[in-house]
């Protein structure tokens, strides 16, 4: 298969590829390090552009006026059960993290430019190892050898330039969390949503570069979180939300790391079992739905992802859907699928209240809320009825 073009990579990341083409591209990405690296780069530009546009809303001085019926938000409502502010809860305006955003966009651009540099310097490149090792090592070499201007001229106050390229993707994730912080307060955010830490580290910590890792941990520590600080072995890990779909560029040094060991990762297994093909964050989910993501009150989501077209019960089979994955006390998966109604479908022919139907995979509670189709499944009909009443 020829290399995947940039448009197709963006369509993949947006969940807009037809199922057959999506499978082909994903198979190719597993085998082609160059395309996988370009996929990661495309993701950085996608997130960077989205955040830039979102920043325009955050800084609008004449933003939406608060609801006069608003009630103060309580501490409990800042938890992950309330990832988006309910309409009747007044949230004071918060500043958008522009300084971090400037830095992040610089990184995204610089990593892309670095890739081009690495290709020019080494046409063959190191394509047998980590996807982005050549990029990072080349950029670091460039920084060390020449007094040339740094590719990313803007650095945040708490992060050293040496850490810049090794943590580009992690930083993107962090910025998304920052943006979430600014919107939802600092006690509950996207990072916490995917709070389940990977039980087994997927790679060894970069112990050879403790000085470079330090700033990152200090950056993380500077953001108040309800989650405990990560263990040392996980300090260089990006947020679990992004690990599967997007390994952090430059965070693996194939020259010093031991060969990959087969690991048993329950979270990865859960991700496979859940049927999602791409993890996404709250902001992406909200953008795709055109409205806040629906969640089950009282349950903590494991992660959010995209499911291929035709996999979500009752949804438009020509488009992918968003799936929120939960585990109940018995470790059974509860899946809440969501999809905006297709153009021209007002939802009049669909139930407005949760309606249980049977499907080959088991009972499904389906209904329309606003202009979003919801399908809850994975457990018994009785349990679905109870859970559906807690979806908000």
């Amino acid at each position: 298969m020829p290399h995947t073009n940039e448009g197709t990579l963006h369509a993949l990341l947006d969940g807009e590829l037809p199922p057959e083409e999506q499978r082909e591209v994903e198979l190719h990405l597993e085998e082609c390090a160059e395309c996988a690296r370009r996929r990661d780069e495309a993701r950085q530009f996608m997130v960077g552009a989205d955040l830039l546009l979102e920043g325009l809303d955050h800084l609008d001085p004449a933003g939406p006026s608060p609801n006069p019926d608003a009630v103060p938000v309580g501490d409990a409502e800042k938890l992950i059960l309330f990832p988006f502010p309910p309409e009747n809860v007044h949230q004071p305006p918060r500043r958008f993290p522009w300084a971090a955003l400037v830095w992040i966009v610089s990184i995204a651009v610089a990593v892309g430019a670095g890739y081009v540099l690495s290709q020019n310097r080494n046409p063959v490149g190191d394509r047998t190892g980590g996807q982005s090792t050549a990029v990072v090592s080349d950029l670091e070499r460039q920084q060390a050898q020449a007094p040339a201007p740094a590719p990313a001229p803007l650095t945040p106050p708490s992060v050293q330039p040496a850490d810049t390229f090794a943590t580009a993707d992690t930083a993107l994730t962090g910025l998304a969390a920052d943006a979430a912080d600014s919107e939802f307060d600092s006690t509950g955010d996207e990072t916490e949503l995917a709070q389940t830490p990977p039980p087994v580290p997927k790679r060894q910590p970069a112990q050879q570069q403790p000085a470079q890792r330090q700033p990152e941990s200090s950056t993380s520590a500077s953001r108040p979180r309800t989650v405990p600080p990560p263990a040392p072995a996980q300090q260089s890990e990006p947020a679990p939300n992004d690990v599967a779909a997007n390994p952090a560029p430059g965070s693996v040094d194939t020259q010093t790391s031991p060969p990959p060991q087969p690991v048993s990762n329950p979270e990865a297994n859960l991700e496979r079992r859940s049927g999602i093909y791409l993890r996404i964050g709250l902001d992406e989910a909200r953008r795709m739905l055109g409205s806040p993501l629906h969640v089950i009150d009282g349950l903590r989501p494991q992660f959010i992802g995209m499911v291929a077209a035709g996999r979500a019960p009752g949804a438009d089979p020509t488009r992918p859907a968003i799936r929120v994955v939960y585990l109940d006390a018995a470790q059974r998966m509860i899946l809440l699928d969501q999809q905006r109604l297709p153009i021209g479908d007002s939802g009049r022919d669909r139930p407005r209240q949760p309606t249980i139907t049977s499907s080959p995979a088991g009972p499904v509670a389906g209904w329309v809320k606003g202009d979003v189709w919801l399908a809850l499944h994975g457990v018994s009909a009785d349990a679905l009825q109870d859970l559906a009443g807690r979806v908000r």
């Binding site: 940039e6 448009g7 809303d57 933003g63 153009i343």
Partner: protein, 170 residues
């Protein structure tokens, strides 16, 4: 007809204003353009209101932006302002530097790229973007790819104080 106006207003006004604020940087102007868009929808009710309204709103904003830019250039020439050749944010100029830079970077994209990007950020699917902009669906991915890259790079260039290669798109 009043029912249609109420329905369209309730369903789309807030989203339209948000999109237009991103596009113009001026809430009052965004409100006016949203009202004008809804007024046009009432004159000839579209079969697919969502796509039609958003596409029309962006067209109105683009048209106004071009007119404002032309007027701004004329004024600059009259004043012999050396900055006359630079893209002018017009009356939507922001006092906030970062926000102004994002808007300026956005304005440096070509019309189609910018509109595709704004529609995607408003939650449009590729099918809807293709319909709104009258382009083949297969071209939406590459349009968005180009738009995202150019926006990030132009913003980086502007923030670092240098000239951006994307000025050519203006």
């Amino acid at each position: 007809m009043p029912n249609l106006l109420t329905q369209l207003h309730n369903e789309y006004h807030a989203s339209l204003v948000r999109l237009l604020v991103r596009r113009t940087g001026d809430r009052a102007r965004a409100e006016e353009l949203a009202q004008e868009t809804l007024r046009r929808a009432l004159q000839s009710p579209p079969a697919n209101p969502r796509t039609w309204l958003f596409a029309t709103a962006l067209q109105l904003a683009d048209r106004e932006s071009r007119r404002t830019t032309r007027q701004g250039h004329h004024l600059h020439l009259l004043r012999r302002d050396p900055e006359a050749g630079r893209p002018d944010p017009g009356p939507d100029a922001d006092h906030d530097d970062a926000r102004a830079q994002v808007r300026r970077a956005l304005m440096l994209l070509n019309d189609r790229d910018r509109e595709a990007l704004l529609l995607k950020s408003a939650g449009f699917t590729y099918d809807e973007i293709a319909e709104a902009l009258g382009m083949p669906r297969i071209a939406v991915g590459s349009t968005l790819a180009r738009a995202r890259r150019h926006l990030a790079e132009a913003f980086r260039d502007l923030e670092s104080g240098g000239e951006t290669q994307y000025a050519a798109h203006e």
